[in-house]
């Protein structure tokens, strides 16, 4: 295990020291803070948020043309993970340092475990700092400290963000193992990012409209079917999963996704849900995200362990 720790520290030093990471981190940090700050300047958009959850507004409110913080995380978060992971192994290979490292008394699994954990730790530290800055900005603007419910909801959201970006990190590591050249690994990663965060929504809409076209005059059944197909397709995208988790966790009044029959909500009072119940709504998505991250890592682990190093 000492091998993992050495690799972990070494990798983290590399990550935090690398210029491209610093630039990316500053960009994302500034964007997140400015979004939250603009939201705080536009407190009128908080009107629909119940009083006891006002601080959550800094994460979900959008100011003017700028999207909300959650959108930035779900759209640009993958980029952080991919940048941290895409050259984890292929970079070492192209620099020819991998055989040097492995000739040291370090096990091969320590290398990949250490790289993954270092990436995850970097992501965790980065998000802690961004979240704390936003929270501080929120407390400064609103003038009261967060309550336990807000803190725990933000905590769960934080956890989900780290897992989400962690998935993209493990995907990047997988590509860095699969492709020998760093540039092809990077290109594939970017392709996956654009596909899952951008194209998948278009494809889902097109497919759903092909199978169950919604005409101007239509029945609720058709609308429900269209929505169900769309959501089914979106489910393969980690970005869509994360969007749902963020919506349910940060908005206590969200109690279901998709098409709801009005009869189902007869007698329902518009009261906020407890965190446990909010989490129960998106529990499948949460489990799916964690599973995706772990499976992706497991696959890259297996592939890396079976690779012939010396031939490289």
């Amino acid at each position: 295990m000492s091998g993992i720790r050495v690799i972990l520290w070494k990798e983290m030093v590399d990550y935090f020291g690398s210029k491209r990471f610093l630039i990316l981190f500053i960009i994302i940090c500034l964007t997140g803070i400015s979004v939250a700050y603009l939201a705080s300047q536009n407190l009128g958009s908080f009107a629909h948020i119940p009083g006891e959850f006002l601080l959550l507004g800094f994460f979900i409110s959008s100011a003017g043309s700028l999207p909300s913080f959650t959108f930035f995380v779900s759209f640009f978060g993958p980029l952080i993970g991919l940048i941290l992971g895409f050259d984890a192994i292929s970079g070492e290979r192209s620099r020819g340092t991998i055989s040097m490292v492995l000739s040291q008394p370090v096990f091969r699994d320590s290398l990949i475990n250490g790289k993954f954990l270092a990436g995850l730790a970097t992501i965790a530290v980065m998000f802690v700092s961004i979240f704390l800055i936003i929270l501080g900005l929120g407390i400064w603007t609103l003038g009261f400290s967060p309550n336990l419910e807000e803190i725990s909801r933000i905590g769960v959201y934080y956890l989900a963000s780290v897992v989400y970006v962690g998935f993209w990190l493990s995907l990047g590591i997988l590509f860095s193992i699969l492709f020998r050249r760093t540039s092809s690994s990077a290109l594939t990663s970017i392709m996956m990012w654009i596909f899952f965060t951008f194209f998948i929504y278009m494809i889902a809409n097109v497919v759903a409209d092909q199978i169950a076209p919604v005409a101007a005059v239509t029945t609720p059944e058709v609308v429900a079917k269209n929505e169900a197909i769309r959501r089914m397709i979106l489910r393969i995208s980690p970005a869509a999963l994360f969007d749902q988790i963020a919506t349910a966790v940060l908005n206590p009044s969200v109690r279901a996704f998709g098409f709801i029959n009005p009869a189902q909500i007869s007698g329902l009072l518009p009261t906020p849900l407890s965190l446990g119940q909010s989490l129960m709504i998106v529990w499948p998505e949460f489990v799916g995200l964690v599973a995706l991250m772990l499976i992706c890592f497991a696959v890259s682990y297996v592939v890396f362990m079976r690779q012939e190093i010396r031939s490289l």
Binding site: D109, S266, G267, W283, L294, A298, Y301
Partner: protein
């Protein structure tokens, strides 16, 4: 020629002028004469009375002139009525009156006297005539008024006339549920030709409270009333039964007293009993947690705060969300007796079953217990939660993945 023709015209004119002047003078003299005058009259110049009763009649003297007058009054009975004891007296303090003084301005220009006539014991039935003469002090003006008394045997007169005070009520019997006041409207009629002052009293069951007020001024509580002659006063008797009053009929006696005479009227208050169903959960909480697809029970107490049993009480739920099943055990209670009699409430178990695919959140519906006589509502709020089964399934999946990851570590590690 001209002057000769005009002479007779002038003469005629002069005559007309002089005669006009004289005439106007004469008119003036006459006005001076009519400035004095008075009238005498009986309010009821012809009456029928029973024998052996004192007859009292109003008699008025009014000054119609422009000078103060003093009028001497004398009564001249006809031959048959020589033995009658007649005279005038003041209305209130019964002084004998021989002459009246009249001023010119109201209200002192008129005097109302009481003419009294007491027939002798042996007076026969028949008509008796009296003439009243009024003479001014200087004997220049004389006026007179006549009165005809028709004397009959006692009992020949109508019964009502002999009754001096009469009490009547349009609704002498009233029905009310317990807790409501009874209000009896009572008319007091004074058949005499004197105003009377009456003391008011009532006889009612123990524990009740009562007060009397003028009919249209309920906030005034009165204990006596003055009824003018031949007038009717409207009274309102308000009775408040005690809150614990039981069903039944309660007799009430309302009485007025004037001196020795007491007049009563019997009234009846009927209490029909009250019905007040009350419902409460065992713990007092009106909310409960439920899991979608699982039955949740809540115990409810039902009792009757009224005074009479509520019959045929059944339970049902209103505004129930779609697909929910709300059942009651027992479904019906044949009778809920008043709590103060049985001293224990009825226990009802409510089972609530939200459908399996309920969207989590708070739902509200109304539970109603409705009997023949009364009903009561209770709002229940149910917080539906997701079954935690799927939560554990998810955790299981993650555990399986981690376990297989560990398996891979063990199998492939340490190369």
């Amino acid at each position: 020629m001209k002057s000769k023709k005009s002479l007779p015209i002038l003469l005629v004119l002069a005559v007309l002028l002089i005669s006009g002047f004289l005439f106007s003078n004469w008119q003036g003299a006459k006005a001076v004469q009519t400035e004095r005058g008075f009238v005498l009259f009986f309010k009821y110049p012809s009456v029928t009375v029973a024998r052996k009763e004192k007859i009292d009649l109003d008699f008025m003297v009014i000054n119609t002139g422009k000078r103060e007058e003093e009028v001497f009054l004398s009564i001249i009975p006809d031959k048959k009525a020589k033995d009658w004891n007649v005279g005038f007296e003041t209305r209130w303090d019964k002084m004998q009156v021989h002459s009246v003084g009249l001023l010119t301005k109201e209200p002192d220009n008129s005097v109302t006297l009481r003419f009294y006539a007491i027939p002798p014991d042996n007076a026969k039935e028949g008509e008796y005539r009296f003439v009243v003469k009024g003479t001014s002090l200087d004997r220049k003006i004389q006026r007179s008024a006549s009165l005809l008394i028709h004397l009959v045997q006692k009992g020949g007169v109508k019964e009502e006339v002999s009754k001096e005070i009469e009490l009547t009520s349009d609704y002498p019997s009233m029905e009310n549920p317990a807790g409501k006041d009874f209000k009896f409207a009572i008319k007091v009629k004074n058949n005499t030709d004197k105003p009377v002052v009456l003391d008011i009293g009532a006889d009612f069951p123990y524990g009740w409270t009562a007060y009397c007020s003028p009919r249209w001024e309920e906030e005034k509580k009165i204990s006596s009333i003055k009824v003018d002659e031949k007038q009717t006063e409207n009274l309102l008797l308000t009775l408040t039964p005690p809150p614990t009053v039981s069903k039944g009929e309660y007799p009430i006696k309302f009485a007025v007293r004037s001196g020795e005479k007491v007049v009563t009227i019997d009234l009846k208050a009927i209490i029909t009993g009250t019905y007040k169903l009350k419902m409460r959960t065992e713990t007092g909480r009106l909310n409960l947690d439920a899991i979608a697809g699982k039955k949740e029970n809540i115990n409810v107490y039902l009792w009757n705060e009224g005074s009479a049993p509520v019959e045929d009480v059944s339970f049902f739920s209103l505004d129930t969300p779609k697909g929910w099943k709300v059942s009651f055990e027992p479904e019906k209670v044949s009778s809920v007796s008043p709590y103060q009699e049985v001293r224990k409430p009825d226990k009802v178990k409510i089972s609530i079953l939200p459908p399996p695919r309920t969207i989590p959140g708070d739902y509200m519906f109304t539970v109603r217990a409705a009997g023949k006589q009364d009903q009561t509502d209770m709002d229940l709020r149910v917080t539906v939660k997701r079954s935690t089964v799927w939560g554990w399934v998810g955790i299981g999946i993650v555990v399986v993945i981690i376990a297989s990851l560990v398996g891979i570590f063990v199998k492939l590690g340490r190369r």
